[in-house]
């Protein structure tokens, strides 16, 4: 795993976004309907050409359609409109909705092998069939698997982020506020945690506990805590010198009051704005663990274990890897994209650059 939390953040801090000077020319808008038509042809009409050509058509349709949409949106909302960020947002909403509603949707069996014994395994994706995204080696529905996987991934990574925010945030604020030996102690602890190679630490943790969503969330939060400690501490340091904090102190407010009433609301916003990026990292970390075979075990679907099971023979059945792979990629991409926007907007340190 090469993505770690502090890495993504370092990247964000350095980013200086230049507003796009050249808007997309409006005459590109016909690409949108053309793109949609090409996707339609690629997925539904051409059933007897090779998969490569169909995939190429769909990709071309997506790119073309995006340009068309971008042209339309920039015409409507001005040239600073960020179409890809909005699309990312929509994707996240879609993933979130499917994670919430999956239990009630009329999906084909995607978890219990005992209900698929007579069915055909490894069906190819076919959008207008019973199994739009195909079936896996156990004849389980991949669409359902991907949606259940979204639920698992989100529960785990959001849970880990929440734990990290809470613990890391409180420790970090306290360290930044009190300074002194407590601060150094916390610093040393955070440094020690960061010194471990993250994936190896996770694999070791994963072999200690039986894996379910909650234990995984707990383990993954270890990855986020030191980062959040540093973040909260740094933000606290900037706020602790600001007038309103000094004023509260001089009016005789106790430490607890200053921390909870004055500092926490202000530090919380930038920290939460980082949550998107951290979530993206944790989704990848969770999938990496599943990929190494120490995460949640199949047939309980997660994106990582679907990819792991699929790679066994993805030479002949690429959809087993690529369908969950693409969904995961798009989710991580969307989180990074939206997270970047959020941080630009809400992190005070970012604004100073």
């Amino acid at each position: 795993m090469s993505e770690t939390t502090n890495d993504t953040i370092a990247l964000g801090e350095a980013e200086v976004r230049a507003r796009s000077a050249e808007p997309r020319p409006f005459w590109l808008w016909p690409l949108l309907p053309i793109g949609i038509a090409v996707i339609f042809v690629g997925t539904m009409v051409l059933n007897d050409v090779t998969a490569e050509i169909r995939v190429a058509l769909v990709l071309a349709g997506i790119v073309g359609g995006y340009f068309g949409l971008d042209a339309l949106c920039q015409r409507r909302w001005g040239s600073s409109f960020d179409t890809s960020a909005w699309l990312s947002g929509f994707w996240l909403v879609l993933i979130g909705l499917s994670a919430i509603t999956v239990a009630w949707l009329p999906l084909q069996e995607s978890k219990l092998v005992k209900n698929t014994i007579g069915d055909t395994p490894r069906l190819r994706p076919d959008l207008f069939s019973e199994h739009p995204l195909g079936t896996n080696s156990q004849a389980l529905d991949i669409l359902g698997g991907v949606m259940w996987g979204a639920r698992t991934s989100l529960i785990i990574s959001l849970g880990a982020v929440a734990i990290g925010l809470l613990i890391g945030g409180i420790i970090g604020i306290a360290a930044g506020y009190y300074r002194g030996p407590f601060d150094s102690g916390v610093g040393i602890l955070a440094d020690s945690l960061l010194a471990f190679p993250p994936l190896i630490l996770l694999v070791a943790m994963a072999t200690i506990f039986t894996q379910n969503q909650w234990t995984m969330a707990l383990e993954l939060s270890l990855l986020g805590i030191p980062t959040y400690i540093r973040l909260a501490r740094a933000n606290t340091l900037t706020f602790a010198q600001r007038e309103f904090v000094l004023a509260a102190k001089s009016m005789g407010s106790g430490d607890r009051r200053v921390i909870f009433r004055e500092l926490m609301p202000n530090v919380a916003l930038p920290m939460v704005s980082y949550a998107f990026l951290v979530t993206a990292v944790l989704i990848v970390a969770e999938a990496s663990l599943s990929f190494l075979g120490v995460g949640i075990q199949p047939p309980e679907p997660t994106w990582g274990n679907m990819i792991e099971a699929g790679q066994e023979n993805y030479k002949d059945h690429p959809h087993l890897v690529f369908v969950p792979g693409i969904v995961m990629f798009m989710t991580v991409f969307a989180l990074n994209r939206v997270g970047d926007k959020a941080r630009e907007r809400w992190d005070p340190r970012e604004a100073q650059i």
């Binding site: 602890l189 020690s192 471990f196 190679p197 994936l199 190896i200 694999v203 990819i307 030479k315 995961m328």
Partner: protein, 375 residues
């Protein structure tokens, strides 16, 4: 200055102590019987008892920790529990080579590509090229490493004609574009010899490269396991895909970092005056602006190298490379061969902490702005 460095070094001691303590006890918590690791499926209960006794697992854990730590301080990390019980230091030494080569290659690749993309998109800030690059970088950083590895194997090994033809099509478009530019310059402005001539040369060179790479397209191996001979070409060929998979997200990190730094450097007085003097753009970018801009890039690259060495487990597993990550996870954590885990993690953690300290110190030393500016 010395005081600052001294303080930093003193701070390392508790960090390293905590790391060693955590490693030792964490590993001890891993369930499973290390003795089982020594046996095969034909073992009997009597074999097992004999092995258990020979591992000395009956001593209390605190004694074992003290033994281990004093050994580690003198460079002895104990013996592997797996037959033939080699010293852990030997195992680490042997597997650190492949990992180092892989990480260095990944770093080199990401550096080279990032310098171009970063400089290019900085000088073209706000244009379509810039947007394309930054969008692509978002894509790169969002591909999990293991997915990148599988993707590259699929396309470069299983469907190798696809990247090969994509290369031809992509490069062909560039050639056509250059050709068009050359011809239009020639038609517009015959007097300015260099204008069209440069494009003509570029067209030829790019077309030649396109053909050469197409013809010489190598067979990338599915696994990289047995190519560690003295043949550097073979090594590069077999490490190309795993290194590229690792490099993907680093390219994105470096490019964005460099672009941001370049953007601010390009606003500085000396760059502006150089431009005013009519210096060629490439000279300004690479001679004048790149050097001051690459300061933080180099820092990040140092940290990245440290991180890569501990983070190649998955790529090593996918590509069958016997490196440090695979040693620690595959023959250490999973079969509970805990001397390997303890030794391996300790070495990685110490290396990482030391590297960070060195970078931190040199940062303090080299860049006075940081020293003053830090909270």
């Amino acid at each position: 200055m010395l005081r600052v460095i001294g303080l930093k070094l003193v701070r390392l001691v508790p960090v390293l102590f905590l790391v060693s303590l955590a490693t030792f006890f964490l590993v001890d918590l891993i369930p499973g019987d290390p003795a089982a690791n020594m046996l095969g499926t034909d073992a009997t209960i009597e074999d097992l008892e004999a092995v258990r006794k020979s591992l000395g697992l009956d001593k209390p854990i605190t004694d074992r920790y003290v033994d281990w730590l004093s050994g580690a301080l003198s460079g002895d990390l104990g013996l592997s529990l797996r037959s033939p019980n080699e010293p852990v230091t030997d195992l680490i030494q042997r597997s650190v080579g492949p990992t180092l080569r892989l990480s260095a290659m990944a770093l080199g690749m990401s550096f080279t590509i990032a310098i171009f993309l970063g400089v290019w998109s900085a000088q073209a800030a706000g244009t379509r090229v810039d947007r394309l690059v930054s969008g692509t970088m978002f894509g790169f950083i969002s591909v999990p490493t293991f997915l990148a590895g599988l993707l590259f194997i699929f396309f470069f090994v299983f469907r190798e004609s696809i990247p090969r033809w994509l290369w031809v099509i992509g490069m062909g478009l560039i050639v056509l574009r250059l050709l068009y530019l050359a011809i239009s310059r020639l038609v517009e402005d015959r007097a300015h010899f260099s204008g069209w001539f440069g494009y003509a040369i570029a067209t030829l060179v790019v077309a030649g490269l396109m053909m050469w790479v197409f013809v010489q397209w190598p067979d990338f191996p599915r696994t990289a396991s047995h190519r560690y001979d003295d043949n550097w070409r073979e090594q590069i060929r077999s490490l190309f895909l795993p290194a590229l998979a690792l490099a993907l997200s680093e390219i994105a990190v470096f490019t964005r970092l460099l672009r941001a730094d370049m953007l601010s450097t390009l606003q500085e007085q000396f760059v502006l005056s150089a431009r005013a003097k009519g210096m060629p753009t490439w000279r300004i970018l690479f001679r004048d602006a790149l050097r001051p801009s690459s300061f933080s890039l180099i820092t990040v690259a140092g940290i990245t190298l440290g991180r890569l060495i501990g983070g190649t487990v998955i790529i090593e597993t996918i590509f069958g490379l016997d490196g440090l990550g695979k040693l620690i996870v595959g023959t250490g954590v999973i079969p509970k061969n805990y001397t390997i885990v303890q030794g391996g993690v300790l070495v990685l953690a110490v290396g990482y902490v030391m590297l960070n300290a060195i970078i931190d110190i040199s940062y303090q030393y080299l860049d006075p702005r940081i020293r003053r500016g830090r909270v």
